[in-house]
Each structure stands twice: as C-alpha cells, then as structure tokens.
C-alpha cells in the first residue's frame, strides 16, 4: 500500500499536469463565453452612461432647442418609413427567389444560383450607397415625376418630385436590395426542410406545383418567413451608408418622392465625426434608441426561431 502511494508513476504525474491543463482550457472557454455576454451588456451600459447627459440636459441645449424627444421622434419615424419601404419591396421578391432556388430551378443549378444571390450580401454597404446615389437616383428621378403627376393625390406621392431622385423612396429601394439576401437565404433553408412526404402527397392528389407550394411549403415555412423578415427588418433599421449617401435629408415629410426625412443611423454617421460636447451625447442617445429598437426586433425574431427549433433557419 505504502509503496504504491510513494511511487511517482508516470500515470499519476501526467494526470496532475493534465488536470491543470483541463482547468485552464475550460476556464478560458468559459471566460470567452462570458466575455460575449459582458460585451453585449457593456454596449448597453456605455451607451446609457454616455447618453444620460442628453436626457437630462435643458431642452434648449439639444439640437433644435426643443429637447431630446422632439429631436428624436422624426428620425425614429424616418427610420421606420425607410425600413418599411425596404421590407414591402424585398419580402415578396425574396420569397420568390427562395422558392425559385428551392423548388423551381434545375437541381444542378440551384446551389450555384444561391451563391449568386449570396454575392448580393457580400457587396459592401458603402458601394451600395455610392451606386444608389450615382446611378439609381438619377435613373429613377423620371419615374418620380410620373408618380407626382399621376398619383399626386396620394399624400405619399405628393409633388413636386425631387429632381435629383435622392429621396427616402430611393434609399428604401437600396435598403431592400441589401436585406433581400438575408430574407432569401433564411427562407430558402426553411423551404428546403419541408417534409418531402407532404410535398409528394400533395402532388399525388393531383395538385399543380403552385398548389403544392401553397398547401405544403408555405404553411410549413410561415414562422421561418416571419422571422426572416424580422431579421431583415433589423438590418434595414440599422443600415447606415445606403441612407447617408443616397438620401438628401431634411425634416419629416409625408411625401416619399421629395427630399426630406432622416434615419437615426444616417443622422449619427453624418454628424458624429464633427460633433463635440453635448452633441456627442445626443447622438449616442440616438444610437441607444436605435439599439433598443433593433434589439427588440431581433429578440422577437430569434424567439420565433427557437420556438420552432425543429426547422430553425439559424442552422
């Protein structure tokens, strides 16, 4: 017995060293995981700390001289308008593209076509902004004139249309291009996970391809589509460059084809580099508002995905 205890056999010593290695390694992994939670918490904390001066400052000191609330609500509305335009355009197209890749395209081409759509996501946002400002705005301006002439009785198309085309509608169109690949790739994965038996049962009953999609694919994919759209919304709300470069900003206006309106992200990007003093705090407070909005949207989307984990689009 005693002899066994004394022997420093190679098994016991290496075990001691190995145990320490295990501890260090699992500790490092745990720390990294906690660091992520700390960062997210830190994002909120530092934004709040730096934003407080803007909340408590006298109303006259805030830009516009009417207090923080009067400063923020038009650009919150502008952000929502731009994101809404983007979603209204992108959602039907994205679902169509996803269906095309999952159920219409020849099987051999499908993955290649999916890669082409993913290229849309690879193009940097500033390039989209430059494209929107230099190409799209110019090309689309005549269409706005036409809208103002023929649909001007609608408040959203009230003339006179912007001659440069640098309007919130153009910004929304550029945003829709940017959220399209997000909605497409998530919806595509969900459509591909439709149970084959459901599809074949529908076809065997004599359904056409569209009826099969309507009866089997879309009902199955509905929660996935909703969360994909929500994630797209999160992206559209926070996207900066497309709006900062494309939109010639101004006060809140109902007409989508006049210059005017502004979004939170663009407001920060345009003003932060030259800002100082209380203006910095005001912009950080605006960032905090944006953070809270996108956080809420993303959390709802993720909650929907985890609720239907068996066809989660996240993996």
């Amino acid at each position: 017995m005693l002899k066994v205890d004394v022997t420093t056999n190679s098994l016991t010593t290496s075990q001691g060293a190995g145990r320490a290695g295990d501890k260090v390694f699992s500790g490092a992994a745990l720390t990294a995981g906690c660091l992520i939670l700390a960062v997210l918490f830190g994002v909120a904390l530092f934004l709040v700390v730096q934003a407080i001066p803007a909340f408590v400052a006298p109303a006259a000191d805030i830009q516009g001289g009417q207090g923080f609330f009067a400063y923020i609500w038009p650009i919150v509305l502008g952000t929502l308008i731009a994101a809404l335009i983007a979603l209204v355009i992108a959602t039907p197209v994205a679902i169509g593209v996803a269906l095309f890749i999952s159920h219409y395209a020849p099987r051999r081409l499908a993955s290649g076509l999916g890669y082409v759509i993913d290229l849309l996501a690879a193009i940097p946002s500033v390039v989209y902004g430059a494209w929107g400002a230099a190409f799209l705005a110019k090309e689309i301006a005549p269409a706005y004139d036409w809208l103002a002439d023929n649909m001007g009785w609608l408040p959203i198309f009230q003339g006179p249309a912007s001659a440069t085309g640098k309007t919130i509608l153009t910004a929304g169109i550029v945003l829709s291009v940017m959220v399209l690949p997000i909605i497409t790739s998530l919806s595509r994965e969900i459509f591909l996970q439709t149970p084959k038996l459901h599809e074949e049962a529908a076809l065997a009953l004599g359904a056409t391809r569209w009826e099969m999609i309507k009866m089997a694919v879309l009902p199955f994919g509905r929660p996935g589509i909703i969360s994909a759209v929500m994630l797209g919304l999160g992206r559209a709300l926070g996207e900066t460059m497309a709006v900062a470069l494309v939109l010639s900003s101004g006060v809140l206006t109902a007409s989508l084809i006049q210059s005017g309106n502004q979004t939170i992200a663009a407001e920060i990007a345009l003003n932060f580099p030259e800002a100082s003093g209380l203006k910095v705090n005001t912009l950080i407070a605006a960032g905090l508002v944006l953070f809270v909005i996108t956080l809420a949207v993303n959390m709802v989307a993720r909650w929907i995905i985890t609720k239907h984990k068996e066809f989660s689009g996240a993996n």
Partner: protein
C-alpha cells in the same frame, strides 16, 4: 396498317387539354417581337424592352393556358412566371452594381500611382487643374489600404480567439446549461446589432476609459470585433458540431485529456470549416463603413500606428470622397478616386469569399475511413 396511329396518339385523352411543349418558346418569341414593336413607338431601350416583353410573356402564356388547360393550370403558370421573374429582378441590382463599379472604377484604378500614393498634399487646386487642363488625377488609396488591412487584422486578432473559445465552450462544455443557452441566444442577438451602434459603443467605451475624442485604428478594431465575434462563433460552432463523436470517444478511450482531445482531434478535424468561416467574417467586416467613421476619423496621410492618431480606411475613403469632394467645384476627380477605391474594395471582398471556398475545399478532412 397502323397509318392513323400517330394522328390519334396526338389527340389522346392523356395529352388533351395540355399546352404543347413548345408553347413557352412561341409565346416568348411573340412577346419579344411585340415588346420591341411597342418600345420602338415610345423610344427603344433594353431595360424597357425586357420589362415589357416579360409582362407580355406572362399575360400571353397565362391567357393561352387558361383557354386550353383551365384556371388551375393557368394559375400555376402565373406563379411560375412570378417566381422566375422575382429571381430575374433580384439579379438586376447585382449586375447593375458590379457594372457601375467596373465602368466607373477602372479609370481610377489604372491611373498610375493610385495604389501606391496617399492623399497627402492633394488639394482642390490639383483637382481643378486636372479637370481644366486634363492633367492626370493625383492621389490614391495607399493610406486607406494600410488602414483597412491594419484595422481588419487587429479585429481578427481580437475576435478569433474569443469567438473560437466561445464556440468550444458551447459545443464541448455547455451541454445545454442555462449559461450556454443564454450565450447562444445573445450571440444571435449580437449578429443583429447595427454596425453604427457597434461603432458608437467602441467610441463611448474609449471616451469613458481613455478620454473624450479618442479616435484611433484600435477603437475601430474593437468596433469591428463586436460585429465579427458573433459571426465567428456561429460558423465555428456549426463546424465543431459536425465533428463525429466517435473521434472524441476514441481519443478519450486512449486516456487523452479533454483539452488535448479538443486541441489535437476536434479542432484539426474542423479546421477547414473554421478557417473558411473566419475568412467570411473578415470579408463581412472589411467593408463596414459606419463603425470606422465614428471611431477612426478621417486621415489623408499614411498612418502606420494603429494605436495612435486618425486612420483612413477604404470604405470611409469612398464615403468622404463622395460626400466631401476634395475640390467642391470639381467633384469628378474625387468621384474617380472613390469608384477606384470601391473597385479595390469589391475585389478584396470577392477574393476573401473565394479564399473561403478554396480553404474549405483544400483543407477539408479526407473522406473515408
């Protein structure tokens, strides 16, 4: 003897009430001709021709199908047309963006010295001169390239260890604990943080810790890591998950410690996927503009110190050249530089994407046991 057979087969009960297989091509040809004719009346352009022809094709095919095959088949044809149309519509901006960048960017990028010089000393007078007298456009993106490479590299150095270790925790140690579930959830939420908010966070953090107005490349790198970490975690987690459990168990059975198993068995098996995921994450953040804009300032000169002084980067270079041209009265040279920089940036991103695919293919574990 059976001379009439082919004729009767054509009108058999099975194929009755169906459009012939050549129907879409006939309708397409008619639609293209009609579209060209209509466009010729109002002024021809290729884009309008495509749109009008597509509409005519859809209407023609659906109407014909409705007459011959009935409403259900017609609806199916309509859905097919709409779905294919959606795909073509999605391709339009991609083609248009790449075309615009190529056409506008090539003159900038072939200007001698574009990749090798900075904007140091390039003022509006030089730009005015190049417009008025046709001298070559001075200035380039060297300082921005240096900045982009340094900031992205530093962000990668921060994000990869944190992201990879987190993924290891989630897959190897988490075991569905509440903490692991919380991390998964918040990593997903973090992917949705607007890039400008990440930039504001880094700015606010350094304003509070170092001092107000701190703007360096390192602050931008921190901002980019906030965006990059969740991407690295997600992709590495997926890759670690698909490492077969038999490999781990074989290693444990040999008496190998868990950390040695992870380092020597699990990670080498998944390394191709992890590396390609990291490359894609780099490709994602290299084009981010907003966070660098609020954290690194603008520089027109070469700054090799990522920890001190303002720093330029390709995206912010594009942004400032478009929004604040060097010569306000003659923005053309600035536009040329901006598009040149955009082309360089797109080439970088595409190369990174390509590299990710190659890495995934080349370093993939050998199949077969």
């Amino acid at each position: 003897m059976t001379v009439t057979a082919p004729v009767t087969r054509k009108r058999s009960a099975l194929t009755k009430g169906q459009l012939p297989s050549y129907a879409p091509w006939v309708v397409l040809a008619v639609a293209l001709v009609l579209g060209a004719a209509i466009l010729a009346l109002v002024g021809f352009n290729v884009f309008g021709w495509g749109v009008v022809s597509a509409l005519l094709f859809t209407v023609g095919l659906v109407a014909w199908s409705g007459m011959v095959e009935g409403a259900r088949k017609a609806k199916d044809k309509l859905a097919t047309c709409l779905v294919v149309g959606a795909f073509l519509v999605a391709l339009l901006p991609l083609v248009s963006v790449i075309w615009t960048v190529l056409v506008n960017g090539i003159p900038g990028i072939i200007t001698p010295g574009f990749l090798g010089t900075s904007m140091n000393g390039v003022t509006g007078t030089f730009d005015n001169k190049s417009v008025e007298e046709g001298t070559r456009v001075l200035g380039g993106v060297y300082h921005a390239l240096i900045g982009t490479v340094q900031i992205t590299l530093l962000a990668t150095v921060i994000s990869v260890p944190v992201g990879l270790l987190t993924a290891i925790y989630l897959v190897e140690y988490g075991e569905d604990r509440p903490l692991a579930r919380a991390i998964t959830f918040f990593v997903d939420v973090m992917t949705g943080i607007p890039s400008i908010v990440a930039g504001l966070f880094a700015a606010a953090f350094f304003f509070a810790v170092v001092g107000p107005g701190t703007k360096t490349g390192a602050v931008a790198a921190v901002a980019l890591s906030v965006l990059m970490i969740p991407v690295v975690v997600r992709s590495s987690e997926e890759m670690l998950k698909i490492v077969p459990n038999e490999l781990r168990e074989a290693s444990y059975a040999l008496g190998v410690r868990k950390w040695r198993t992870i380092l020597k068995v699990v990670i080498p098996t998944a390394i191709s996927g992890i590396a390609s995921g990291v490359t894609l994450a780099i490709a994602r953040v290299i084009g981010e503009t907003a966070p660098i804009l609020v954290t690194a300032g603008f520089a027109t000169t070469i700054n090799n110190n990522v920890f001190g002084g303002w720093m330029a980067s390709l995206p912010t270079f594009i942004y400032t050249q478009i929004l604040n041209p060097t010569s306000p009265s003659n923005p053309a040279p600035s536009d040329q530089r901006a598009w040149g920089a955009a082309l360089v940036l797109i080439i970088l991103v595409m190369l990174l994407n390509l590299a990710a695919r190659l890495i995934a293919r080349i370093f993939a574990p050998k199949a077969g046991r």
